[in-house]
Symmetry: C2
Subunit: 891 residues, 2 copies
């Protein structure tokens, strides 16, 4: 018989933390805490296999599930000394989702389940608090009505607002037991009217309705979107946790809170958390009331109205300190815990590895190595390479002038400027128009996920460090400032007011998620400075990894950044980027419109000095490191003038008519430029272009060597499909090198290789390696050709593909291991069979994607090359690959 | 020591016919004839290895070549009793190229070599004909001056014309010995003035100059162009034949001629040839004098001024008859021979397998099987599938009215209409503009190859059945009428005059290469009727081949043609071709501009009846045979209206604004449509389109089955890259089939499969075969993606690639075996590993290319599918592949 239900509580459990795939993160950790003897309210978990069964079998359950649930429920009743549905002694439960990966706010939760017209009276007696009992009941009616029965939550809120209006009060706290009694009646009437049947009074019917709703919510749109954004496979499913209710809102000896064993923002080894007296857990997370700090040390400096738990409930705080120590020792990682205090008694509701900023990640990992808790390899494994991005981007210039509009909580670090927008839809549409936006909301909810994803920064006027906005933003690595109460939002007018200023939609603001400041206008930024923790960690990373990391760069700024970030050379210098400079483009265009080789050569002669100077600078900066230079790649029409004025300029310079230029443009126009007259095809048809570029490289190299630098140019021929192309062009490059050697009397240590970016080249790598001295995989084009998928055109359907589950991830972000990956593996195998020592690298966008870097390591490449800002990510990913750490699964 | 030189003559030879690769065709057959004891003037062959050495080593020879030549020359001297350069007793030689494949007119020839100021006097004495001797000398000066020394042949001709003008004569024959003596002096003076040094008098210097020129000419532009057009690899090289001169122009007991052992036009078993009394061989081939028939039977009916060799030289004719019998028995194939009669003595100068029309090929092959000379397999092997095209196209309707302008020789069969052009350049430029042209010339020369290649038909006003024009046209399968003397060409005015009519450039004429007629205007044509020989042969073909042949067809006409031509089903029905009909396109466009699924479905509902009717017709015609139907493939923007009027129509029909249509067009625009939103990507994003198509297929099938026909639809999903695409769409098709089955109560025998046209699909064929019931290789797109080469854009550089030797053949014509071919082989292997019985076919253009068909046979495909007119070609090629006959080499 399959075990579909796992019980926990009372110092023991059927499951454990190791069973996360089956029990979900929450269920597995509840079981683990229970086994550790921590105070966990008893309960049970319906496994993720139940979810899969439910999804695959038209929302039906395994036959023996019901029986197992009944049996597990009986254990909870026994443990709590309560009875489900028994009026005077009712067990109440929470029903929550719990997937393998944390999906904050995406799944639905129901609390206080088991309440009905009879049990609520019993609760009033048992708790001695009629107001509490009926507040709990109306909360349950609202939550269950919304989530399970599908009655819009506004319907409930409207009734509540009406009631408050009639009573002339503003706050919920001003309402008494009688008010909630009246509202309970009103809620039930409204539900019956909306649905045509009454709110279910049978607790078992309530329970199964809630379980259905949680499993059903796995397939709702919000959950699907979140999974797509976070590469979570649909097949994982969610578990359902049913757990005895404990109440943090039974009076002032009750509380609820969240705590991190270390500071999730900076990683400091200090207990960090927030709590609310007399509240339910959702109140903290939803950010409706602004919570208080856990410890005295956690109070904001100078704040007088904050009361820490350490001061208010010293005994419970001491208990929590003990829990902190035990959990961190047990899990060997920073924990994020939820707890409730009911009538002075501490209950642990959840623990999990805490989300943290990258900065905190690194500090915690380095500290734990020093504390002897983990080793260096484990420290390296702990850092998510994708999140490293957070600390690799510019921060605000501390001396830049700034006009601060308000200060909130530093919820997710990093600085960002952008145009202000007030809802998710606007955020997406402004972004589509190419604008960077800052999304400003009173608070955020799962409905805002789309807008949060595209926003450069997020601001909320309500909610704490653990509010939805803060948690999600940290997960995304997006700067966020939360709870800036001084800002006033007018959604109607789309304005933000603060300190007498009114900012309209579309105006630029700047936020600093590290300081919590929100500023008017754009504020200057500076390059990130790396912490000592970062440097330590990256030293360990470099000791660990076996694969080299280079950068894609063609200008001095990028080349310098690349070196600073630890690049071990340039893996891709795209020479065409050097052609667009205003003083050069005229010669490029003259070259293109030239009617014969002679005029083409004349134009190329004018380009030569510029191109040579480019290489002189690059070689100087990259002193001692290899520089891979790709000869001209894009089709010539990309360089042609578009405006009438530019056409006239080119016509004059070339001594031809504007109509000739139009003719040439028409002649060069292509149906599929990606598959057109580009790459080495230009070198074959216009050898003088590649000849000029080769000359510029070798002349520059000779000059720089003469100045005492060490230069290693690697001349790379793009888009080779057949070996003969490379043969012809390598001969041209070698002959040019020979000529320059004779002219300059200087030997250059260079090599000639090719991009492997067409399926045919990958298949014929064996013979191409006879000529090539290195391969660099152009996985962008290899993806486009292997999949027959134009990167520029795919956006119209790739999202639909992911939503329908046809593609698990975007193959332009993470390499398609099975298709493109097989071509890479074949080419590696065949290339090395011909020339065992051939140097193999990759210079597509995938070089900066951790999951792809893992694949390239496994495929045996010598190096990856990526954009300068992603070099540390690639270094870390390469180290993790060397350690055998599995990158985030995209399968 | 390498043997660089092979001697022949006097009843023996170093080489043989089997050594064609080393000795070239001419040299190998001279050796073979010599060994057979036929009268061959003695000589020797410098091998093709010498050519390769010469090409690869900056035009230098192997060290020991000179010595071997001297020795071979001594043998010739001994055999002829003459001495090279000895004034009174001079050996004269011809120097000719001879490559492995026949390259008519493309390589250079020098005759009468060894003549100088002294030996010419000896020749005058020895021949007793001073006029002959000096005519020979001036011919030598002219030929050698042009070919070896690079003096333009017009310079010689101008001197000759001047001389004739001064003498007041028009014909060469009116000039005497004194005239030639004077011209010899004038020629030598002119050459000295042009070159700055005198014409070489040393015969050895002459010989090496000629050898250099022949080897050098292997790399000249004409030869390169010919090789590109005929897929002849550069590395083959040419041999050089040096052979003792014999003279057909020493008087009226001399003659020269060419003969075919059977009629090359219709294949009849009758001796066929032409000769000229008192002429050199070049006179026949060049078409300057119109030659006489060899036999009495060969005389044109009713002709009175023709004198056959049979009548004029009965003894030599009898000797030739004997040679004919011996050669055909020896070679077991129809021979094309060149001979010279010197003073009544017959000399054989060449034999080779004769070029012939396809009709003749088939008759000869079938006759030889009946004569017991060859077996059926050999007969099948003898037919060039590419040439089968000749008899598969329409001929003139015999009852159509025609205005005949003139009648010439039926030089290459088939009928063609086109716009008249008068030179090769115009032929090419008119063709580029999309026009069909008829090239009309007085005579053609190798310089005209380009124009002849693109022309739909060729007419010459001078020259016989073996003239350059006739030989080349037959080789190309292009209709040709030669020697239409009644036509007058004015190259200046670009007009043709005949019978009082003047036809200007660009006007349409029609030619019939089977009757020799040239007609004004376009004349109606009829479908070809196949000869009994064709039917016999195709029966043997079908018995022999193991691979099926289907046709690509989507309309009833094509489907009927396909069946007539022996197609065993439809391998590709492109449903989008059915969308362009005027009464349908409006609904297609409505569907595309629809803003939601509902409006899209409304438009699709209107398309359904049309699409269903299409399939009803196809299924009826293809009764009993499988029909593979590809669901919608091209991107939607291909169907959008372009003109303002069409846009307005669509806007009105769809009830939207024209600007909405423009917006939709802008939204659908793609950078690389080939790699865009097309194929199954449409089916995934707009499932209702594929659903409608599937419904049309199954409803049509049910109707046709109800009418008593046998229907086997194969539903094909295009552009699959990942298995999930096929999974989703196969489910959709199966569900639709199920619905139709329920509605119609009729079970259809159908299958669902996919195109393999992306490299990823080929690599993942193993898992795709889990779902697919068949694969059809789309080698067009597979070539585009594997090579990263857009077929629409490649023309700008693919010619340069072939000229530079980077590509040996056009990969869109003949499959790239190494790259695309490996993908096919991998997919076959992996697909069959998953599903051993999976049906495998190919439906790209390559399905009608013989070399590609051979590959597909070797790769183990079940069938090829090609355009209806190419079905017989594919059948023949498949049979040859089954016999192991190597298709024309493109490697």
């Amino acid at each position: 018989m399959t075990q579909w239900v796992y019980s926990f509580g009372g110092g023991k459990a059927d499951g454990s933390a190791a069973m996360k795939n089956l029990l979900g993160g929450k269920g597995a950790n509840l079981a683990e805490m229970s086994s550790l003897g921590l105070p966990v309210p008893p309960g049970f978990t319906l496994t993720t296999d139940v979810c899969t069964h439910y999804t695959d079998n038209s929302s039906t359950y395994p036959d023996d599930l019901k029986e197992q649930v009944i049996s597990a429920l009986a254990s909870v009743e026994k443990s709590m000394g309560l009875k489900f549905g028994e009026p005077g002694n009712a067990l109440l439960v929470s029903v929550r989702s719990g997937a393998r990966a944390s999906m904050p706010g995406m799944m639905d939760t129901v609390l206080n389940l088991g309440l009905n017209d009879e049990t609520v009276e019993g609760l009033a007696v048992a708790s001695g608090d009629e107001r509490f009992a009926f507040d709990s009941y109306r909360r349950f009616l609202q939550m269950y009505g919304d989530v399970v029965l599908g009655v819009d939550h506004h319907m409930f809120e409207d009734l509540l607002e009406d009631h408050k209006d009639r009573r002339g009060v503003h706050l919920d706290t001003e309402l008494g037991a009688g008010d909630w009694r009246e509202l309970v009646v009103a809620y039930k009437e409204m539900v019956k009217k909306e649905l045509g049947y009454p709110f279910p009074q049978d607790p078992h019917e309530q329970l199964w309705g809630a379980i259905d709703a949680v499993f059903g919510s796995w397939m709702n749109r919000r959950a699907q979107t979140y999974r797509i954004l976070h590469n979570i496979p649909e097949k994982w499913g969610t578990a359902v946790n049913v757990q005895a209710m404990v109440f943090g809102n039974m009076g002032n000896d009750c509380a609820t809170g969240v705590a991190f064993t270390r500071d999730p923002a900076n990683g400091e080894n200090a207990y960090y958390g927030e709590y609310l007296i007399n509240a339910q857990g959702e109140d903290v997370v939803a950010g409706i009331r602004t919570p208080q700090p856990l410890s005295i040390a956690g109070k904001h400096p100078g704040s007088t109205d904050q009361l820490s738990m350490e001061e208010v409930m010293p005994e419970t705080y001491a208990e929590l300190l003990d829990v902190r120590a035990r959990l961190e020792r047990h899990y060997q990682d920073m924990q994020d815990m939820e707890f409730t205090v009911q009538k002075g008694r501490l209950w642990m509701l959840q623990t999990r590895n805490g989300k943290r900023t990258t900065k905190a990640s690194m500090k915690i990992a380095v500290d734990m190595v020093e504390e002897g808790l983990i080793d260096k390899g484990e420290a390296i494994s702990r850092i998510d390479p994708g999140q490293l991005d957070q600390i690799l981007h510019p921060t605000l210039d501390p001396v830049a002038e700034r006009q601060v509009l308000g200060v909130g909580l530093p919820a997710s670090p990093g600085a960002a400027s952008g145009r202000i927008v007030f809802n998710s839809v606007d955020a997406e549409s402004w972004t589509e128009r190419g604008e960077k936006v800052i999304l400003v909301r009173v608070e955020t909810s799962p409905e805002d996920i789309g807008g949060m994803h595209v926003a450069s920064g997020i601001v909320t006027t309500r909610g704490g460090m653990t509010s939805h906005a803060a948690v999600v933003a940290r997960g995304m690595g997006t700067p966020c400032v939360s709870g800036v109460g001084s800002l006033k939002i007018d959604y109607e007018e789309k304005t933000l007011s603060a300190l007498g200023e009114t900012i309209k939609e579309g105006e630029i603001i700047t936020i600093d998620g590290t300081s919590g400041e929100v500023m008017k206008g754009a504020v200057a930024t500076i390059q990130p400075e790396f912490s000592d923790d970062f440097s330590r960690l990256m030293e360990w990373v470099d000791e660990t990894r076996t694969m080299g990391v280079r950068a894609n760069a063609e200008n001095p700024t990028d080349a310098r950044t690349a070196r600073e970030f630890g690049a071990e050379g340039i893996g891709l210098c795209r020479t065409e980027h050097m052609f667009f400079d205003p003083e050069r483009i005229i010669h490029v265009r003259q070259m293109i419109v030239a009617g014969d080789e002679k005029s083409r050569r004349a134009a190329l002669d004018k380009l030569l000095p510029y191109q040579r100077q480019d290489f002189v600078e690059l070689f100087t900066i990259m002193d001692g490191l290899p520089v891979t230079i790709r000869l001209l790649d894009p089709p010539l029409h990309e360089f042609l003038p578009q405006s009438e004025k530019d056409m006239a300029n080119v016509a004059e310079a070339a001594g031809i008519a504007v109509s000739d230029i139009e003719d040439r443009a028409a002649q060069l126009k292509e149906f599929n430029p990606m598959l057109g007259h580009r790459g080495c095809r230009l070198g074959i048809t216009y050898p003088e272009i590649y000849e000029m570029q080769a000359r510029a490289i070798f002349e520059a190299a000779a000059d720089v060597v003469a100045a005492g630098y060490s230069v290693h140019p690697e001349v790379m021929i793009p888009l080779v499909a057949v070996k003969a192309e490379l043969d012809v062009l390598k001969t041209l490059v070698d002959q040019t090198a020979q000529k320059v050697r004779e002219e300059k009397g200087c030997d250059i240590d260079y090599s000639v290789g090719t991009m492997i970016e067409l399926p045919r080249a990958a298949l014929r790598a064996g013979e191409i390696a006879e000529t090539a001295e290195f391969f660099s995989f152009g996985t962008n084009d290899l993806t486009q050709t292997a999949l027959g998928l134009s990167r520029d055109d795919a956006s119209s359907f790739i999202q639909i593909y992911r939503e329908k589950g046809v593609l698990d991830s975007d193959p332009f972000v993470t390499i398609d291991r099975e298709g493109v990956g097989e071509l890479v593996r074949l080419a590696v195998e065949r290339g090395r069979a011909t020339k065992p020592g051939i140097k193999l690298g990759i210079c597509g966008e995938h070089g900066g994607d951790a999951a792809s870097v893992e694949f390239f390591h496994q495929a045996g490449l010598d190096y990856v090359s990526c954009s300068p800002y992603r070099v540390p990510i690639a270094r870390l990913a390469a180290a993790q690959a060397a350690l055998g750490v599995k990158a985030k699964d995209n399968a």
